[in-house]
């Protein structure tokens, strides 16, 4: 009995230990981004983000003149250590654990004595977030000729636009795909196989293929820059995967539940609404999370179909705009990336509770 308990504890330890290790590995890169988002531009470019954590570093404790009679071109002896100029430039460690370095050039140098000490770089700032949230300032020349400073739109408008794009662009494809998945899984009709082949084949099509033809259609239909246009585009690009995943799930549902419903005289539509949808909640929720993330983080589709219309611009476009073409504004990108992560994480945490054990098992027994 005792050994069984001990075994259990070991197993617990192994499971939790392995998981913890994976979690740490997975978190380190994000932690780096998170810490960097609170650092100044200069700090980001000159020292590693982990330097904000306590670490040992050489700290200068003394600075000396170059002693008389030392020849920088030969072997020198300074502060009890010997070496060439190059060796002193790199730093020589003496027996006390102190480092003696030659700072400057051969003629006009100083000797620095360093010691290892625990240090942190405490300079943290929320300026990056301030800049990202408040927007840049622009100079605008009015009709009368005067120049005014105008504060750029803050991120709230773009945030609302992103929500307006992402919520329907998540629900619409799931709804359409769930209907189609049920149709392919449990209904007989001519062309079932051919159409399903089409769906699976389209899984692999890179969406770049479709951008130009669809854009042309949108211009003709005067749909460009509307929410409907971008919803439909995301629906089109998300449908193959949504249909495929939901098909696999819905086909895997026990056949006897459907059979008994048919015997009770229910129609396909009723079965779909009353039986399939509630049973598929875990699959629907899983896919909803992913579709939402893809739409939320999408830049390419938004760029092509929303274009330059400022009143419908989404978050990713605004952030990309902020960074500009220089690409070196890491400090802004770090904060922007975090702002744009907030909502996806809320969605994940709120949908996580749907993955409950035994959802399916209970329904089969009942």
């Amino acid at each position: 009995m005792k050994s069984a308990k001990g075994q259990e504890r070991t197993r617990d330890l192994v499971i939790n230990g392995a998981l913890l290790l994976l979690v740490i590995i997975w978190t380190i890169p994000t932690l780096g981004l998170f810490i960097s988002s609170f650092r100044t531009r200069f700090d980001i470019q000159t020292s590693g983000w982990w330097k904000v954590l306590p670490h040992r570093e050489w700290v200068q404790i003394e600075e000396l003149e170059i002693p008389e009679g030392v020849d920088p071109n030969g072997i020198m002896e300074i502060e009890g250590v010997t070496g060439t100029f190059e060796e002193f430039r790199a730093g020589i460690t003496n027996e006390d654990g102190r480092q003696i370095t030659w700072s400057g050039n051969k003629r006009l140098g100083t000797i620095r004595i360093n010691e290892q000490k625990w240090v942190i770089i405490p300079r943290l700032t929320t300026d990056n977030y301030g800049q990202v949230l408040a927007g840049k300032t622009y100079e605008i020349q009015t009709a009368s000729g005067e120049i005014r400073q105008v504060q750029g739109d803050n991120l709230i408008g773009a945030f609302l636009n992103s929500i307006t794009v992402a919520v329907p662009a998540t629900i619409i494809p799931i709804l359409i795909a769930a209907f189609a998945a049920y149709g392919f899984a449990w209904m007989k009709f001519p062309g079932r196989k051919v159409l399903f082949i089409m769906v699976v084949a389209l899984l692999v099509i890179p969406l770049q293929i479709a951008l130009v033809p669809i854009l042309r259609d949108y211009v003709q239909l005067d749909l460009n820059g509307t929410f409907l246009a971008i919803w439909l585009a995301h629906t089109g690009f998300g449908l193959p995967l949504a249909t495929y995943l939901l098909f696999n799930y819905i086909r895997g549902l026990p056949r006897d539940i459907l059979e008994s419903a048919f015997i009770d005289g229910a129609s396909h539509f009723t079965i779909f609404l009353r039986l399939i949808i509630p049973l598929s909640i875990p699959a629907l929720a899983s896919f909803a999370i992913f579709q939402f993330l893809w739409v939320w983080n999408d830049y390419l589709v938004a760029l092509v179909f929303i274009g330059a219309k400022p009143n419908v611009q989404v978050l990713t476009m605004r952030i990309a705009e902020m960074v500009g073409s220089r690409g070196a504004d890491w400090h802004l990108l770090t904060a922007g990336a975090f702002v744009s992560m907030i909502l996806p994480l809320i969605v994940f945490f709120s949908l996580q509770r749907f993955f409950v054990r035994g959802m399916l098992a209970g329904s089969v027994k009942g």
Binding site: V199, A201, V204, L293, W330, F348
Partner: protein, 372 residues
């Protein structure tokens, strides 16, 4: 009194009239018309309206989601009014029709047009036969791209699935399941631009002697090595450093789906096996794996296809330099930078052909099940 009876009577006759055939037909016409009218009004309001942002957001969401649901309901309502044999014939098309129409417009027709273009020259004017395809399979830069895609599938897809399954199983038995799953999932919430920045903090290289701001080089130099440009050196193994990024991003995807599947395994089944003295490893290989085999196939297919299409990470990290081009980045380069429509289209079609084995496997599964 008499008047009240009178009006009651007339209301009754109105209702009765609605049940006649002509009445039904008129209702059947009016309801879709009203639906259509409301939808169009909503669209115009959204496009031209000047309401405050949050109002537009709210209306748009209700209009978009509600509109699609309404279309299904109204159409089904119409179909269920038809004679039974017509209903049986039409209802499947209500279910799959919208998906098929949208897929045709957004994906199938552009694909066919791409195929036709792949047989033409760079301006899409003259037919050149299979010339583009011959070029795709013989040019060195394309063979490098094919090799890289193979590396992506062998390492990227496989490890994403394995890590995803591992985390899902471990988390299921762990005391901090929610926390662990959230942390593994976290990278999924980051856009590719964000991921590029994050991994620059890992892979960044500075000259020897100056402070390293990339974590990997800091460790490497600390161990006595020379600073390395990880994503540029040691071709073709520099691809592995890009693949790591995608494993980091995709494992969350595999994990969530596996986790949902594992939750679907009846608790009694696992309990019975454990009572019978099965070890955890036996439970995993003999019960869990066979039970969720369908899910494993689904996830693997999806991840392989993702990996085959990989584009953003390569574009953000190296732009395809240092022999890191993959098929999708080559397609993009040929289509948008080189403006060689024919050649780009041929690359895209090759990408489609690459997935044929995966398709065949899935269709075989499809044929096994019978429908109602």
């Amino acid at each position: 009194m008499a008047e009240a009876t009178q009006s009651k009577h007339s209301i009754k006759t109105i209702f009765e009239w609605f049940t006649t055939t002509i009445g039904q037909i008129i209702v059947a016409i009016i309801v879709p018309l009203i639906t259509g009218f409301v939808m169009i009004k909503g669209f115009i309001f959204l496009r031209d309206g000047n309401a405050p942002k949050y109002v537009i957001a709210l209306v748009a969401i209700i209009w978009g989601v509600g509109g699609v649901a309404l279309i299904y309901f109204v159409t089904n309502w119409l179909i269920e009014k038809l004679p039974p044999q017509w209903m049986a014939r039409l209802q499947p098309f209500l279910f799959v029709g919208p998906a098929v129409v949208i897929l045709s417009w957004y994906m199938a027709i552009p694909t066919i047009r791409t195929f036709i273009l792949s047989l033409k020259d760079r301006n899409g004017e003259l037919f050149v036969g299979l010339e583009n395809y011959i070029a795709v399979f013989t040019q060195r830069i394309m063979t490098v791209a094919f090799r890289n895609n193979l590396l992506w599938i062998i390492f990227g897809a496989t490890l994403s699935v394995i890590f995803g399954l591992l985390v899902a199983v471990l988390a299921d038995r762990s005391r901090f399941e929610k926390f662990a799953k959230s942390m593994i999932f976290l990278p999924m919430a980051i856009s590719f631009v964000g991921a590029g920045v994050i991994w620059n903090f890992i892979y960044e290289v500075k000259e020897a002697g100056s402070a390293q701001i990339g974590l990997l080089n800091a460790i490497w130099v600390g161990l006595g090595g020379q600073p390395q440009a990880w994503t540029a050196m040691l071709q073709p193994w520099n691809n592995l450093f890009l693949i790591i990024i995608v494993i980091w991003l995709q494992t969350g995807f595999a994990m969530v789906i596996f986790s949902a599947a594992i939750k679907g395994i009846p608790g009694e089944l696992l309990e019975a096996a454990r009572v019978d003295g099965a070890t955890e490893v036996q439970v995993f290989f003999r019960i869990m794996i066979p039970y969720i085999m369908g899910t494993i196939i689904t996830v693997t297919t999806t991840v392989v296809i993702f990996t085959l299409k990989i584009f953003d990470v390569v574009m953000v990290m190296t732009g395809g330099q240092f022999a890191t081009h993959v098929i999708a980045t080559q397609f993009y380069r040929q289509a948008f930078t080189n403006q060689n429509k024919g050649y780009a289209s041929a690359i895209a079609i090759v990408l489609v052909l690459a997935v044929v084995p995966v398709m065949i496997y899935n269709l075989r599964q499809f044929a096994e099940e019978e429908a109602f």
